[in-house]
Symmetry: D2
Subunit: 470 residues, 4 copies
């Protein structure tokens, strides 16, 4: 499971905004490693630099001439279809009122239909990114002000989007009406910034002010003055739908999203699992699948009274490793990332805490490693329920057929991955772990098939999007 992006925006006349955006993206790197880009503006014109790979690779040799006092950055995780130079965000265009740039985290589910309509009217598209449609809708809008044109465009969108727009003079931060994906506001000396996660603020020396509200549009055109807040969306739903998976897996431990500390939520997930599995198996030690399973394993240990130990060592240097095809059979590929610590594992009955089972293949390899290192028993406990349906809100699980839980029962999965027991947290248990969020304000669609905005139906009707064919 992969989330598709991280965004960062800054307005600050007192600092080198490109450098700060670099740091902002650097701390959001876990949200996307495929490409990175930064756009800056100085009130008159825009400059941009983009490239494939990690932030460090793209900007490691400097920022060229990225000057200005406002900036926009983006990191992308991309599936194969989007893997082209033209699709690297931020997107930047020239419209009737100057330069315009956009960085988006999410998925616009009616992008195919909107694109089709626009093309029929003579509009040319330059990328296969779904959010290019937002720029075209803004340009086409007949509303008098820029903010009204943006609202006009957003009203036509279905799906999840936390996006930041930039003109030559201002930043506009927007969240969809359900608040699927996170976006928050920070204050720093001399300016403001927005980011997908609050961990960015720590690195650039900003303080988390608050989350952008679902349906809100925040206009930042001044380093000191409070940003102007408007609701772009007139018809708001009864509940929010914050992605629960941000707490389970996607976000960084040190972030706070919609008032919920991520680390605390994860410890709670572990505690809750310990409660729910009490008496179901006997074990000697709790270990985690690093890094996302670790806080939950600590919570499980606290609740169960079992010791928490590092049963798996993570290789810190893993990247795209070079493997000759003929050698693949001999090597358990998981070993490149994780290696059992024999003295912890040998002869022990283990509780292994992981965040999710999507396809099951990694779990199977992992358990094989642990048993190969002498583990007596492996009791898998999972901090999320079985993934039974697609996500249409920015996480790349569109291909339902690859989800093991759509075709196997829990017992079958347990057998297939080679575990002695397998337990998932309950849906309610998972929701309750996020103590700062009202349970009904969480989106759990991939676990319970309840799509808050009916995007499953929209996506089904949408003409097959060009960018998925590509």
């Amino acid at each position: 499971m992969k989330d598709e992006c991280g965004v960062f925006g800054i307005f600050n006349p007192q600092v080198d905004v490109a450098q700060y955006t670099y740091w902002g993206l650097f701390s959001l790197q876990h949200r996307g490693q495929q490409s990175a880009g930064i756009c800056t503006a100085d009130g008159k014109k825009m400059r941009s630099k983009k490239g494939k790979g990690l932030v460090l690779k793209v900007f490691g040799k400097g920022f060229d001439d990225l000057q200005g006092h406002l900036a926009l950055g983006h990191v992308l995780y991309s599936n194969a279809g989007l893997d082209q130079e033209i699709n690297i965000q931020p997107l930047r265009v020239f419209y009737d009122d100057g330069d315009l740039a956009l960085a988006c985290n999410g998925t616009i589910n009616n992008a195919g239909a909107l694109r089709h309509d626009l093309q029929k009217r003579g509009v040319i598209f330059n990328t296969t990114v779904d959010s290019e449609v937002v720029l075209q809708l803004i340009a086409c809008s007949k509303k008098p002000t820029f903010e009204e044109r943006v609202a006009d465009a957003l009203m036509q969108l279905k799906g999840a989007f936390a996006l930041v727009l930039m003109t030559d003079k201002k930043l506009i931060a927007v969240r969809d009406r359900y608040g699927f994906r996170p976006l928050c506001l920070g204050k720093m000396e001399g300016g403001w910034c927005v980011a997908s996660e609050s961990c960015s603020f720590d690195l650039v020396g900003a303080e988390l002010v608050r989350d952008i509200k679902p349906g809100e549009m925040l206009v930042i055109d001044n380093g000191e003055k409070e940003p102007v807040s408007k609701m772009w969306c007139s018809q708001m739903p009864d509940n929010c739908a914050h992605c629960v998976f941000e707490y389970v897996y996607i976000a960084r431990n040190d972030s706070r999203i919609d008032k919920q500390d991520v680390y605390a939520a994860r410890v709670n997930l572990g505690r809750q699992l310990a409660k729910e599995t009490k008496g179901k198996f006997k074990a000697d030690v709790v270990i985690s699948v690093p890094d996302s399973g670790t806080p939950a394993a600590q919570g499980f240990a606290m609740e169960s009274g079992l010791p928490f130990m590092e049963g798996l060592t993570k290789n810190r240097y893993v990247g795209r490793t070079f493997i000759q095809p003929t050698q693949v059979q001999r090597l358990n590929s998981v070993r490149l990332k994780l290696n059992p610590v024999r003295c912890v594992v040998k002869g022990k009955s283990l509780v292994v805490v992981d965040d999710s089972i999507v396809r099951g293949t990694t779990s199977a390899k992992l358990i094989k490693l642990l048993k190969g290192a002498g583990a007596k028993e492996v009791h898998m406990v999972i901090t999320s329920p079985p993934v039974v349906d697609c996500c249409y809100y920015g996480v790349d699980t569109r291909d339902k057929a690859t989800l093991i839980s759509t075709r196997c029962s829990k017992d079958e999965i347990c057998k297939e991955i080679g575990a002695d027991t397998l337990n998932y947290i309950s849906l309610e248990g998972m929701k309750e772990a996020c103590t700062a969020v009202v349970p009904n304000d969480l989106c759990c669609a991939c676990f319970n098939s309840q799509y808050p905005d009916g995007s499953d139906k929209v996506a089904a009707k949408d003409p097959v999007p060009v960018w998925l064919e590509d």
Copy 2:
């Protein structure tokens, strides 16, 4: 003086079109070294690869997945304002009927006004290239067929353009109504190709069939069948206006443009100069400024009876050399490219044949080198008249202030560059050297300020183009 591009297109189901386009561009490299790009199509979809630098650099490691049976390529010379990744041609977009790509050689003089109008109607531009407007006009056109939409777009353009369009299924080659820039058609086994110069055909094994006619649109959608020819332009001018500077400097010696062999024209230019300067000075030997001045020097030698020798050696490895700023004063930068052959030059009275004097700085450095190597006298003879005005047809001389002939008399220039005598060919002499072209069919605007289509006035009225500000 720099020409701005070379284009190459091919339709051939029997060969690897990317490889052939690579060769085509390779032989057009002299027309642009800033960037290179290739688009291919296989009847269903398009693929492209583009980059900065020489063809060899961009494609030296292969063509990735550039499959198909038709292809389009472009090499660009670019001024600073266009030096961005987004501006590398061929431009490629997604419109209502699929993929569309364009490669253009020339300058569209009302692009700024057209762009402005389109933006007012909600159209977004993605580059600062003037020819992007062509794609937008095609997409906006309400005409029923693709060919009619293209014609509809072209009718709105002012300026010089030799362009090739590609859809998923066919190539369309077009020349403006005056035929400013060259474009010719070749036939090879299994297919057809079009190119800025016929020297490309030699390398790919094609035969020159004919030049595309001014105002013509050629549709190639079959490897065997003769391409369909239409006149997109209904109101044709009385005369053509083929750029005379292609014969003087731009094109390669081994090309034939609008039925005139380039090498023959250059030899004639030299002969004519010898006739025109007879008795004006006494000299021992004729040398040239390589490479473009060499055939003319040979012609001058033949006519005058003086021996032709290589008085200047050209360094074959010159590229973007690394020079530390502090060292610049000590080094005559021309020496990196050209070095006098002392035994030819020393104690001799030289005729030095060059193609043009634009700013005068290079001539001055060159003469300094020759005198430093012991030349007794330097008699400069120039195979074109003084450049007194801008070119609006694809050659980068928009800044009239840099042209030495707009502010100095011939005698002043002679003194400034340090020559003993200076002689330019006459306008009529230059025209007559192109024996295969009717004199009135040549554009000599930069020499005589007669702009065939009034582009000087269009350009003056055009809102300052974005891409020149950039």
Copy 3:
């Protein structure tokens, strides 16, 4: 503190030895990130590929023509003086009996004197690496067999070395007489391998057989037959001197060195510290400085009954980050690697477990971060005693002046780093944590100035080594 290398050797006619050496080095990457190199041999000749940077960077595009059935690899941590292409190991030379290659982990303390003597006799050196002297001594030796020549050379060395030599036909693995640095033997299907740490064996599918003994020379020239073991050293000391810092910091958690599991030693270090500091302060939670402090923090938590939590999040993507000089003041550089988890830290009295305090600057920055995130109290506990002297055995702490403990008392350090309390483990406590090693067999010279082989005096007499001046 940085260790200087990792080595890996393999003899196996059944596999692609370059690929396996790549994996071996990949799992030793934590021992050196400056450069990487692989040499292979096929019984007749050698091939090598080396470069600066991570294993992944150097070999990420493949192994070129690194064929053979035996191979040698090396990863290097290097101080500035050694940072040249010529110094990348394995070193490879041509001597009277063919090709010879060497990869070494350690420091040869009389290398300067030996080099000086050899140069006086007309020997040329090609690198500034201390172990080049080993190759020259082998080549100069008049002994009849290769093994005797190697022994002859080794007998002249003072210092720490775990080295692997390779000829066209065989591998020779050697450890100095004290066994300062680790080196172990593994068996795999079809062959043998040697490595600095046993974690390499897990990745290549080998089983740890045993450690190479101090003073032993192991000759591997057959994939099946047991390697021939000889003692190259006739005069063995009474005790070994295994570097205790391998257990504290250098080695990977999942390695076993000289029969001691590293993870177990670290947990013990934490337990011991908890015992030694009992009653000295009151705390709410135990956190670690990842990654090396984590097992010890777990041990501390178990022993003290306090909960272990992740108070610091490590950025997984840290490398050589690009920071503009002017921005440095504003940024706490430790934040690029570590960020406090506010919900763990805020309002809490923390036990922070770290492995060592060398210069004190990092600890100071870290404590500032934690207090900035709201920590009430910070109680630093260190799993090694104060570092009071240089290491002459392969760890880069030659500059005694930089060691904070040589000039400040414990209380002064506590104040300087901003901690509320500071406690180091006792020397005896540290030794006892390595339950599988006799305490007298551990080298603790940097903690107690007792240099087992008198290398402090040798190093003092040695003419200033060229490679440290460089």
Copy 4:
């Protein structure tokens, strides 16, 4: 046929010597394109930077920290066996008196035997370059001064060498006793320089002072004072043996070697050929195979009265072009470099002037191109006699079997290459073209098998050199 190197040295405290060496190498690029390297010294220590590819590629991004007031540079043409990083010159080592670097142009024919002897005495070699033996011999020499040690080493060498040595403080330029390869001395403001060809001096602003004499050693350790000249060689042969092929093909037109202007020699070669072939065929026009054949073609034209024209256009952008294997058959590979100018060639009887026929394959392809472009007749005239034997003096023609003239008669070759007539210059004619050199002072061994120093026998006895096996 390829020459193997160019060398450049400079001593000048007033300039950035790395930059000047860069320019020096840049103007010697025609002598070697495989690798480039620069070493600088500042009186105390040396620094170097080397790499594969053109000078521009290796140094295009700057000189890092190449400071100093003396420097040494080298460009290499290399056969496959030498194509390794370790073999890039200048070679640099650490010997008993500091740093030592060497750059050599030539071939040491007893290097294998010397290397073998040294290895038997315990000497290690680090490269497979023949001239490494020179460094080892200097280091081993027991003579009291550095100059005497160099002389001691040189006395043991057989073969051709023009080499420059550099210590931390001085440059030493040396030429073998026959003066096979060129090396000359230049004076510039503030310092001295040495170079393989005088064309380097023009670029760096130096004046050619004189050639280094055969058997001479020139010591440069001062920017102003005249370099000290000694004869390192006590037993001088009666005649010199300057490589005649430098004049025919290798050197640049604008160089003067051993008092002979290269361009003048080439014009003379053409004139002489015209005399020798008078009446043998009837032709309309003289063309050349650019670039080396051009001055000779001009000479031929002058003497014969036929017009000289450019019948072949050279593509200025040729490098290592990317060609897909499957496309090779369709493409005449010579076309990538040379294309016929149809209007010159068509229907004409051509004299084609080329410098040599080595294997005959290129001539065959060329003539095919010319006939394909309509040439009526092709009369090949060659400015050197048939190549019938190996060169042991620095030109890469060791494989006698590839020389077409060792197995075919002139008539057979004429037929094989498809020419109408084929004529070589006579041996005497060639020698006489070099009017400034006594005929007996020219080495013509590859044309007449007369090896001045018996190197053919030395090479036969020499143990197969490692570097040719490699």
